[in-house]
């Protein structure tokens, strides 16, 4: 179970990602608890499995339009399906990897699994308590979901 300080790690990591990678800051809403259900799934989700000193998953889920605009802000001209899927995984990977600054090297992260709307609910399903971190970026809304034992 995460404590408030640990949730803050992911909030700060998310804010840092958007500001640095896209040049446009994101605002983060109040994290909330979601118990024993697939918390939130939008068009795509990049899911990172966590093992080592913690068990669980971290995922970033966003609408396709947001991912396309993020690519454009990164000066990427190809906003096709492959790059949209790639980006949602890279965001999840970066936020999870940055969390090792606080969690240490035994916070082991997997390579991302990418889900779309057809299978996202199953792949991103969590057991136990998840923290949902709402993100507003430009006109879009996305979420980082953290479920750690």
């Amino acid at each position: 179970m995460l404590d408030a300080e640990e949730v803050r790690t992911f909030v700060q990591g998310t804010v840092h990602f958007f500001e640095t990678a896209t040049g446009h800051p994101a605002t983060v809403g109040s994290p909330y608890l979601c118990i024993d259900k697939a918390a939130v799934v939008q068009d795509y989700a990049g899911v990172i499995g966590i093992s080592g000193n913690r068990e669980g998953k971290v995922y970033f889920t966003a609408p396709r339009g947001m991912l396309s605009v993020m690519l454009m802000c990164m000066n990427e001209t190809d906003t096709g399906e492959q790059n949209v899927r790639d980006l949602v995984g890279e965001v999840a990977n970066t936020i999870s990897g940055n969390a090792r600054r606080d969690f240490g090297r035994n916070f082991v992260i997997s390579t991302p699994t990418i889900c779309d709307k057809a299978n996202a609910a199953t792949a991103a399903a969590t057991t136990g308590r998840s923290f949902v971190i709402p993100i507003n970026w430009r006109s879009y809304a996305a979420n980082v979901v953290v479920c750690l034992q």
């Binding site: 990678a21 690519l71 000066n75 990427e76 790639d86 990897g97 940055n98 390579t111």
Partner: protein
């Protein structure tokens, strides 16, 4: 220069953003295993290297390419932000570490420092 990252977006970002006149991208690879295979053919002087990749991770890749070409300059570009990982990469033979996410300026500064400018 060779770019190694399992993310196509990241490979293209690094290729597009690097502006050093002394560097030219000669190849890219999608994981450590692919990198070692291509490294033997291309023998680049400089490599940017992700750490978390399928098939073979970046730390193992460093060990392989250092044996092939001991003077290769390796910039690890990774989201893994803990100090222990940075130290391990440097101890294995990497020459620099750039944490994701990064700006274009940060990438170019890291590459310039890597090649001694």
């Amino acid at each position: 220069m060779m770019i190694v990252d399992d993310s196509n977006v990241m490979r293209r970002r690094i290729e597009r953003s690097q502006q050093n006149d002394r560097l030219e991208v000669v190849g890219t690879a999608v994981n450590g295993l692919d990198a070692v295979t291509k490294f033997k053919q291309l023998m680049p002087d400089v490599m940017t290297l992700d750490l978390t990749m399928p098939e073979m991770d970046g730390i193992e890749c460093v060990e392989h390419v250092i044996k092939i070409k001991p003077d290769v300059l390796i910039l690890v570009v990774s989201a893994l932000a803990d100090k222990a990982t940075t130290v391990e990469a440097i101890e294995k033979g990497a020459n620099g570490f750039l944490c994701k996410p990064f700006t274009d300026d940060q990438l170019n500064e890291a590459l310039a420092e890597l090649i001694g400018e």
